[in-house]
């Protein structure tokens, strides 16, 4: 009859022993993802992960430029169709590249063929990949990742 009581005690001891490590929010953990968003790979370079930063920079910039080269469309801020809103969110992930494209009026075309549709996808995915890279820079700055 005494056995269940012992098991309960053991479980509660284990629960106390297993605890999540704490990662305090530092200034770098806020600045690195912001820089990483504005300049693809910039967050990693700021954290002295030069190799990773350069690879991220090349990948995101190349995808963005190929998207523009394929006559992909750049979405503007809009409150219309949900897919248009999501397209804008994806595009704006490219940070400075997006603002540069808007200033220079690049990507101000309507998709008229399949290649232009692929280009639009390249532009959106470049932004989304940059969001992932910025989140990774945040984790590195926190110390969650080497």
């Amino acid at each position: 009859m005494a056995k269940p009581t012992t098991e309960k005690t053991d479980r509660s001891r284990n629960a106390v022993a297993v605890s999540e490590p704490e990662y305090p929010l530092t200034t770098m953990a806020v600045v690195a993802p912001l820089v990483g968003w504005l300049i693809p790979g910039g967050g990693h370079i700021l954290l002295k992960r030069y190799g990773r930063g350069i690879l991220l920079l090349v990948s995101v910039v190349a995808m963005f430029l190929i998207g523009l080269g394929m006559q992909g469309r750049i979405y503007k801020p809009n409150g219309g169709d949900i897919l248009d809103i999501l397209g804008f969110v994806g595009d704006v992930g490219s940070g400075a590249l997006y603002f540069l494209a808007r200033i220079m009026d690049w990507g101000n075309v309507m998709a008229a063929n399949a290649a232009a549709d692929y280009g639009k996808t390249f532009l959106i995915v470049a932004g989304l990949l940059n969001f992932i890279a910025a989140a990774d820079a945040h984790h590195i700055a926190l110390g969650k990742k080497p």
Partner: protein, 60 residues
């Protein structure tokens, strides 16, 4: 400047850059990153071939 890519070459270029970013961001050590990046690339390109064959069979 206009870039003209076929559907297949666009998919391979997409797979290459997406795999690089996935490899770097999803794993910790360099070796793990390279392995995961290659795995992602193989799955992307394999998926292209698989989808191509499925569409070809459906079309018949």
């Amino acid at each position: 400047m206009t870039i003209t890519l076929s559907h297949f070459s666009a998919a391979v270029v997409f797979a290459l850059f997406a795999s690089v970013v996935f490899g770097i961001t999803q794993k910790n050590s360099t070796m793990e990153q390279v392995k995961y990046g290659l795995q992602c690339f193989a799955l992307f390109v394999g998926g292209v071939f698989l989808a191509g064959w499925v569409m070809a069979l459906i079309r018949r």
